[in-house]
Structures are given as structure tokens and as C-alpha cells.
């Protein structure tokens, strides 16, 4: 197996080295990546989309289909994980239900250190503020839907680790959970049909100057949906893997 792997790796490496030998050097301002459609996005992106962070502009407006299906992919991943039997099995009822000392879910678990508990609880609001700021100011600073989804998701996972499974599950309101998980694909579908009605193109964004506010509203809806939906999906993936098997 080792020999086969080494031979395979060497063959792949040789092929890829031949491949990169034919590539233009990176960093060259006249390279194809900077002269084709990328140059157009840089030149007219702000005027056409109203988003100053061009990564967000490309992500949501120019390459909206890509992002739509990407959101569908992470939703499908969550569905796949939840479809496995251990995720749906009911966890055994916790003994004693003590709320004073936070404990990890299972019975023989080590209690969380009070120092770690305190610091995570102290830092969580700051992390949440950072995530919301990167969402709110995502058009003029680095940040946006996916970034704040990742940050909020990581924060919820940290809280889930110190508070234990039962408490962490309450972070996502139970009744709205199904809708929140599907928020990304749903919002994309709705915006896509709105764009279709307005422009005649699926997931089209109105380009004329008069529709400026509408276009921005569409982008904001997508950003918020990606952030909330993505964060909920990340937290749910964590909880599904954390469930006792």
C-alpha cells in the first residue's frame, strides 16, 4: 500500500509540476486572471452592485448561482448528518439535572473548568459583536455573510462545549430550527424569483440606477440569510456529532 501510494503521489506530483510550469507567473498585473472578467469586476463592480467589498459583490451578484448551490450543499450535508441513526436517537435522560455546576452531557464526563467556563462566557458577547460588525460593515471592511456565519458558528460551538449539550441546544429556538437551517437556500430561492420577476433572469439583479435601494435590499437579505443559516447549520453539525452514539 505504501509503495503504491508513493508511486501514485510521484506520478501526480510530476503531472502537476508539468502543469504549473505552463502557468503564467502569479502577481503579474498583465496575467490573464487580472485582464479578463476580473478587470471588469474591479472597474465597474461598485457602480453595478453598490457593494464596496468586491468579494461580496462577486459572491452574491456576479457569481450568485455558485453561492446558491453552495448554500444548498451545506444544507444537504446537514440533512445527511441528521439522517444518520445516532443523530436522531434520544439522548439518555441526564441524572439529577443540576443547573448550578455546568457539566458536559454524558454522566461520566469531566466537569468544565470554572476558569474556562467564565472566560468563554465573558468572550462570547464580544465574539458575537465582532460577527455582527463583520456582517453589518461587510461591504466596506473584510467580512460578510460567510465570514460571520463561521464566527457565530464557532462561538455557538464554544458555548456548546462549556455549557453542555442540553443548554447549547436552547441557543437555537426549537420551533424555528427547521426554518433557520433552511434559511440560506430559502432566501436564495426567494431572491432568485424576485430577480426573475424584475429582470427576466433567474437570480438577476436590477442594474439600473433607480433600483439601487432594491438591489441593496436584496444583497442584505442574502447576507443575513447566509450568516444566520450558516451559523445554525454549523452549530447543528456540531450537536449531531456530539450526540451519544
Amino acid at each position: 500500500m505504501k509503495t503504491f501510494a508513493l508511486v501514485l503521489v510521484l506520478v501526480v506530483a510530476a503531472t502537476m509540476v508539468i502543469g504549473i510550469a505552463g502557468l503564467p507567473p502569479h502577481g503579474d498585473p498583465d496575467g490573464p486572471i487580472h485582464t479578463h472578467v476580473g478587470a471588469r469586476y474591479l472597474e465597474r463592480g461598485v457602480a453595478e452592485t453598490g457593494v464596496r467589498n468586491l468579494v461580496t459583490a462577486v459572491l452574491l451578484v456576479y457569481r450568485g448561482f455558485d453561492t446558491f448551490l453552495e448554500v444548498v450543499v451545506i444544507f444537504t450535508a446537514l440533512v445527511a448528518v441528521l439522517a444518520l441513526p445516532s443523530a436522531t436517537r434520544r439522548p439518555p435522560p441526564a441524572r439529577g439535572e443540576s443547573t448550578a455546576a455546568p457539566r458536559r452531557g454524558s454522566d461520566d464526563a469531566v466537569p468544565v473548568s470554572p476558569v474556562v467556563f467564565f472566560v468563554v462566557r465573558l468572550l462570547a458577547p464580544f465574539i458575537a459583536v465582532f460577527a455582527l460588525a463583520s456582517l453589518y460593515r461587510g461591504h466596506v471592511t473584510p467580512g460578510g455573510g460567510f465570514q460571520s456565519a463561521a464566527i457565530i458558528g464557532a462561538m455557538m460551538i464554544a458555548l456548546g462545549l462549556v455549557f453542555g449539550r442540553e443548554h447549547a441546544a436552547r441557543l437555537v429556538p426549537h420551533g424555528a430550527k427547521a426554518w433557520l437551517q433552511a434559511l440560506g437556500p430559502l432566501a436564495f430561492a426567494i431572491i432568485a424569483f424576485v430577480g426573475w420577476r424584475l429582470t427576466g433572469a433567474f437570480l438577476g439583479f436590477p442594474a439600473d440606477e433607480a433600483a439601487h435601494a432594491l438591489r441593496e435590499a436584496m444583497v442584505v437579505v442574502l447576507e443575513v440569510a447566509i450568516a444566520v443559516g450558516g451559523a445554525v447549520i454549523l452549530a447543528q453539525l456540531f450537536m449531531a456529532l456530539d450526540a451519544p452514539s
Binding site: 469531566v110 473548568s113 476558569v115 474556562v116 472566560v119 465573558l122 468572550l123 464580544f126
Partner: protein, 108 residues
């Protein structure tokens, strides 16, 4: 003018101090014998080191409102570094690691 020069010197001094602490912490991380001593070296020296580098960068080029971010970052480093070291040392203790002692007859 004078105030600017003083600020600049303070900034450079803080950065140099921070780098010295980081160097000491890194040497300790490599040279110390067991996980507890290493966590001790890494957390203390890196908190002071990274904190003072960040403060030095904040003082560099004058003090502006945006430098508050760097102060917050320094506070974050000072809070989170020792917490991590504490969690590491606690996990090591719970998994049965004994601190190394110089006494050759002691527990290994």
C-alpha cells in the same frame, strides 16, 4: 515634535520588549521538560510579549481612535492565553501526567 519622538521611542521599546518576551517564551517551550513547565512558559511570556507588541503598534504613528482595536486585541490575548494554558494543564493532570522532577529517584 518632542512628544512624537517620545511616543516613537516608547513604541519601539514596547515592541522590542515584546519580542524579547516572545523569544524567551519560545525557548522555554522548546527547552522545558514537561507539559506543565511548557504551558507555563508559553502562556506567561506570550501574554506579555504579544500584549506589549500590540500596544507598541498602537502607539506607533501617533494615537488614534482606531488604535482602540489593538488595545482590545491585547486584552483578548491577555485573557485567552492563560485560559488556554490552564485548560491544557488541567487536561494533562486529569489524563495522569505527572510533573517531571529533577530528582532521578522520583516518578518519571
Amino acid at each position: 515634535m518632542i512628544a512624537g519622538a517620545v511616543l516613537e521611542i516608547a513604541a519601539v521599546a514596547l515592541v522590542v520588549l515584546g519580542v524579547a518576551f516572545l523569544l524567551a517564551g519560545t525557548i522555554g517551550l522548546v527547552r522545558f521538560p514537561d507539559v506543565y513547565a511548557r504551558a507555563h512558559a508559553a502562556s506567561k511570556c506570550d501574554s506579555v510579549g504579544a500584549g506589549s507588541v500590540l500596544l507598541g503598534v498602537a502607539l506607533h504613528d501617533g494615537v488614534a481612535f482606531g488604535d482602540l482595536k489593538l488595545v482590545l486585541l491585547a486584552l483578548l490575548v491577555v485573557v485567552s492565553g492563560p485560559t488556554t494554558a490552564h485548560a491544557l494543564a488541567r487536561a494533562a493532570l486529569r489524563s495522569g501526567r505527572r510533573p517531571s522532577t529533577r530528582d532521578p529517584a522520583g516518578p518519571a
